[in-house]
């Protein structure tokens, strides 16, 4: 509810701005799978380290049309998160400033619906950076693959407690994990998982 109001307010404020087109309803047949690597898991303090997006058109994952951004080293980059995503301070040298990166990101995704693994987490971090710089949250429609998976599993196997680890779900869907804990790799894997879910992988599995 609050979100809807905020989006309406955003749209009005941006009505004459450069990003007004983001608020238009999307009519194409593409989606964008996104993923980000951050310095932590707390949406209030974690900062972006890298950000990736890959387009999905029909039943194709357009890996050739993808965006992979490395950002400048954030202050909160610590050993714990480096262990996960493997991006050290030096690796981020020459990375883009967060403002420029978000600008490119917005241009890339446009008003296409977003697909992500635990999308809310990525969105809240992105929005936290976006609002002070651009003055709005991402207005795009979103599909959370983790939710979709749980929903489909409930429908097909009501008694099974869904295991919600990324690798586990990818395995269950028969999707190869392309590059775990790199933003682009996870985005591509997420996109593939989405395609499998779309085509009723769980339902098909039951019938076979």
């Amino acid at each position: 509810m609050l979100k809807v109001l905020r989006r309406a307010a955003d749209r009005r404020r941006q009505a004459d701005g450069y990003y007004a087109w983001l608020f238009q309803p999307y009519t194409g047949d593409e989606l964008v799978a996104i993923d980000s690597e951050t310095t932590g898991l707390d949406t209030r303090s974690a900062e972006l380290v890298s950000l990736a997006a890959v387009k999905i058109r029909g039943d194709r994952v357009l890996a050739s049309e993808s965006l992979d951004l490395r950002l400048q080293r954030p202050a909160s980059l610590s050993g714990d998160s480096i262990r996960i995503h493997g991006l050290r301070g030096i690796d981020l040298e020459g990375g883009e400033s967060i403002g420029a990166a978000l600008g490119r990101f917005l241009d890339f995704i446009g008003n296409r619906p977003l697909v992500g693994w635990c999308l809310d987490f990525d969105l809240s971090i992105i929005n936290r950076e976006l609002r002070p710089r651009f003055g709005f949250d991402l207005p795009n429609a979103g599909i959370d693959v983790a939710h979709a998976y749980v929903r489909q599993l409930r429908r097909s196997h009501p008694e099974v407690e869904p295991g919600l680890r990324f690798e586990q779900v990818a395995g269950a869907l028969g999707v190869p994990v392309m590059g775990r804990h790199t933003a682009l790799g996870d985005a591509v894997t997420t996109a593939l998982m989405y395609l499998r879910l779309e085509r009723g992988a769980m339902l098909a599995k039951r019938s076979s």
């Binding site: 039943d59 194709r60 994952v61 357009l62 890996a63 050739s64 993808s66 992979d68 028969g174 999707v175 190869p176 392309m178 590059g179 682009l184 790799g185 591509v188 996109a191 593939l192 395609l195 499998r196 085509r199 992988a201 098909a204």
Partner: protein
């Protein structure tokens, strides 16, 4: 950027930069089970690299189980040929849920341009594919199975029997008369075996008299088999008992003998047997019997996947020996040194596998006096017809006085033909150019051919006229380079064999190449530098393919398969397997290319 395994060919032909281009250019796609990834006839837009899953390649024109012609799985690549050809020839269907990387057409073509080795990987040569086909054919091995399933009754020979009272001398005489190695003696307690070695031992080592009874040296413990046992069982029995012949018994009485050599030759390609039969033939009837077995030999060679080139060589040698033998029987020995029987046309080139017709001629020494020559030649022709060589419809035979002459007469004819340059003369020159001596004195033919090269090889205008017929028949390809598919089939003799043979012949005449077989001429031309070695090889392969297809039709006709009907030169494209069709198309493209070179070389553009 996707991490895809690029450590397999053809990607190993790229450098790091190329591989990075592939990585950044590819997409991913999922295909459900039984989903059609690429439909036959659809233009190829992507090269597919399978990351996971299985894909089947189907030829939709073939029925049922035979339609599956390819199977691809993890790491395999398909669709590249579809891009190079413009459209997909076959249907690709996912056998399982499959995840594929898609390499877009534009990027693929760019890579092909930038990395020749990469492109080469996809353009396999005709020879390579032909080898595949040969292997496939050899694998079929239907006839091979026939050998294994042969029974004793098909291979045994009549036993040679003598009475119990016969003497050793009589036994030796009998063996000698019938060219045998062993005989059976009918004793009171049944049959006994006597071999040549037994007789030798009895006479020399034991010092028996020639008129002592043969029964005393016979072995009555026989190794026997029954007529309906398998031949390979006989081989096992022989090995076990360390004997070289077994007796075939039917209802207690001997009805045949099987010798080790019979079994072995039956298992081998039988070429040895036929040539032996020809060599041993002491009468025209025996020669005719041997001659009748050649189609069977051809079939066995084909089933074993013997390269056509060698099969042709073998058959040419065999046919030559048969004619030589016939000549020896019919012609008085005193004429042998002063006359030369030559075969011409396909026989002269050694490319006549089955006997189609006889093209032959006779050259006589200038000072020879041979009164009843015409009569004898008529007999020779008739005999050859009996031996299975049908008469030539163009009457190019020794029975026709036009094809008999002294060296001087022949030289005069060549001069006349070379000056005339009309269709008939040119054809005769071409026929003579392919001539090959089979009997008599070959130096006479050499003299005549010397004259032929002398007169023709530097005459540009004559060469141009000579080469022109090679372009007479159009290549059965459509405007877009695919095979024409008329209902009655395409004529591969006119469309494929003739242009190659005649074009190569014209070039051989130009370069003064003396050998007659087209394949040897091609080798010689490549050595001479007239043709690139690669192109010569392709032409040879194409010719072998056409000959093989034609041969299959001829064999089918010999089998009395009336349904194929019609002429053996007609190949109905629709009846071929997809691989054969593919080969045929490529071979015809080579012919087309060759024709262009010919018309360039001999200035046939405006004629």
């Amino acid at each position: 950027m996707v991490d895809v395994d690029l450590s397999q060919p053809p990607f190993t032909f790229l450098d790091d930069e190329g591989r990075a281009r592939v990585r950044s250019g590819i997409d991913l796609a999922y295909f459900d089970r039984d989903e059609i990834i690429l439909e036959a006839g659809q233009p190829g837009e992507f090269v597919f690299i399978i990351h996971k899953g299985e894909v089947a390649e189907l030829d939709t024109t073939l029925p049922g189980a035979r339609e599956r012609i390819g199977h691809y799985t993890h790491g395999d690549l398909f669709g590249a040929i579809s891009i190079l050809n413009g459209k997909s020839r076959y249907r690709f269907r996912a056998e399982q849920e499959s995840l594929c990387y898609l390499l877009p057409k534009a990027l693929f073509l760019q890579l092909c341009d930038d990395y020749p080795a990469f492109a080469e990987f996809f353009r396999q040569t005709l020879a390579h594919k032909a080898r595949l086909l040969t292997e496939q054919r050899a694998e079929g091995g239907v006839t091979m199975a026939g050998f294994m399933l042969a029974r004793v009754s098909e291979c045994m020979r009549q036993p040679l029997c003598v009475g119990p009272a016969s003497t050793i001398a009589e036994a030796v005489a009998t063996l000698h008369d019938s060219h045998a190695d062993s005989l059976l003696v009918n004793g009171e307690q049944g049959a006994g075996m006597v071999t040549k070695t037994d007789l030798l031992n009895a006479l020399v080592l034991e010092g028996r008299e020639q008129d002592s009874p043969v029964q005393a040296v016979a072995h009555f413990e026989l190794v026997t088999v029954t007529p309906d046992q398998y031949l390979f069982e006989v081989l096992v029995v022989m090995t076990r008992h360390k004997v070289e012949r077994v007796v075939v018994m039917e209802q207690g009485a001997p009805c045949g003998v099987v010798e080790l050599t019979d079994v072995l030759s039956y298992f081998s390609s039988r070429s040895y047997v036929v040539s032996l039969q020809v060599a041993q033939a002491d009468s025209l009837e025996a020669l005719a019997a041997a001659s009748r077995r050649t189609p069977e030999l051809v079939r066995a060679l084909m089933a074993q996947g013997v390269k056509l080139r060698f099969a042709m060589g073998l058959l040419a040698a065999l046919n030559g020996r048969i004619m030589n033998k016939a000549w020896g029987f019919l012609i008085d020995e005193r004429y042998h040194g002063d006359s030369c029987l030559m075969v011409m046309g396909s026989e002269g080139r050694g490319e006549q596998i089955l006997k189609t017709d006889q093209d032959n001629g006779l050259i006589l020494a200038d000072d020879l006096d041979w009164p009843d020559c015409a009569e004898q030649m008529q007999r020779l022709t008739d005999t050859l017809i009996e031996l299975g060589y049908p008469p030539c419809p163009g009457n190019i035979m020794v029975s026709n006085p036009e094809w008999v002459g002294s060296v001087t007469q022949w030289r005069g004819r060549i001069a006349r033909w070379a000056a005339g340059r009309d269709g008939d003369s040119l054809m005769k020159l071409a026929i003579l150019l392919d001539s090959h001596a089979v009997a008599g004195n070959p130096t006479l033919l050499e003299q005549v051919r010397e004259e032929l090269f002398e007169r023709c090889s530097r005459d540009e205008i004559l060469l141009s006229y000579f080469a022109r017929p090679a372009l007479r028949f159009s290549t059965p390809l459509t405007l877009f380079g695919s095979l024409k598919k008329p209902q009655h089939g395409i004529d591969i003799k006119k469309g494929g064999i003739f242009p190659i043979v005649h074009g190569v012949r014209a070039m051989a005449l130009e370069r003064g190449i003396r050998v007659t077989s087209t394949l040897e001429r091609l080798d010689a031309l490549a050595e001479d530098g007239r043709l690139e070695a690669r192109f010569a090889e392709d032409l040879g392969e194409a010719l072998s393919l056409f000959t093989q297809l034609r041969l299959e039709q001829q064999l089918a006709r010999l089998d009395g398969d009336g349904s194929k009907g019609g002429k053996p030169d007609r190949v109905v494209v629709q009846e071929l397997s997809s691989l054969e069709r593919d080969l045929l198309r490529e071979a015809l493209h080579i012919v087309k290319d060759f024709k262009q070179r010919l018309s360039h070389r001999f200035h046939l553009e405006y004629s």
